[in-house]
Symmetry: C2
Subunit: 161 residues, 2 copies
DNA sequence: TCGAAGATTCAGTATTGACTGAATGTTCAA
DNA sequence: TTGAACATTCAGTCAATACTGAATCTTCGA
């Protein structure tokens, strides 16, 4: 496959990843920037490179890289002797992303508690909806982190497989 | 606690739940409508009731209830002999909500596959980022559903606890 | 079939948020 | 300390989405 053809096909692929990441609440260009960083060569790209790949403006790119960095999804690096910064996907970021999303489960349990406290003197039937919510999220707050734990303790296969 | 005071406190509680649900991508009034349905008395409320509780317009309420129904979060009921419809939280909806969100995990795995296919002839190092993504989501696509399964098979405690 | 209660639609308006790029700030080699 | 390279900020513009409510449609008892 020629370089240009690969780049075109990757462009279509990047669109799909971008849509998926938008579902996580990322703005379009932030998602697109991240998606290009997933497949670009080399893995390190400057702001200028990313502007060309995504078509975003200087300002958008500054925002995009900052947001992705704050979400621990990409790292900023500066090779010694260079004036530019480069950005690359942060190793292990997918697990971190899952952890953050799973921590929301505990929020749900806590919020349900607050509601149950307020309804304490009301007839028990009125609390049934919140109780159902709390029971599930309590359970998941224990089970999901233990799955992540299992993943992190899992021996990784070598990359020649 | 007086009725009015309880209602005021529930109002503040509903605000919190609303914010949380907005994080799921629900528009404000949709989230607010859902949140009131979690704690209202009785659990069944008409569109008119919900308009008063949330302050939303007729049109917004029509949209909100339709969306929540399509997401299987609430049910529409009409008591025999009445002209009005009533809405109530759907029993078991929290598990369904989780299932939908977890099905996204499989999407990630599939998307990573597409990318890996495209990069097939490239040096192996270039695929490392997608490989890391795929491995994690493959694992979670198996583990998370089995947690849900465990929940559904779990004997439920009686409600007098 | 009629009409009143109730539900839905949708064109118009308001609001929010994304995006740009010129101005400004920062860094560092010389 | 200077200025060239690069990064960031933010006021202004544009686009997308939420929300309203009058008009329209549906339902069902009489």
């Amino acid at each position: 496959m020629k370089d240009q053809e690969l780049q075109n096909r990757l462009g279509a692929f990047v669109e799909r990843v971008t849509m998926q990441m938008e579902g996580f609440g990322l703005p379009h260009y932030v998602a697109k920037t991240f998606s290009w960083l997933l497949v670009c060569d080399p893995p390190e790209q400057s702001a200028e490179d990313l502007m060309e790949l995504t078509g975003a403006s200087k300002g958008s790119m500054s925002t995009a890289t900052r947001m992705l960095q704050q979400m621990h999804m990409i790292d900023k690096v500066r090779p010694s002797g260079e004036r530019k910064y480069y950005w690359r996907i942060r190793s292990g970021m997918w697990v971190d992303l899952l952890k953050i999303r799973l921590s929301i489960l505990e929020q749900f349990s806590k919020i349900a508690d607050e509601g149950l406290e307020l309804l304490g003197e009301e007839p028990a039937g009125r609390s049934a909806r919140l109780k159902e919510m709390k029971d599930l999220y309590d359970f998941m707050s224990i089970e999901f982190p233990s799955v992540l734990d299992k993943w992190e303790k899992k021996p990784k296969e070598s990359s020649d497989g």
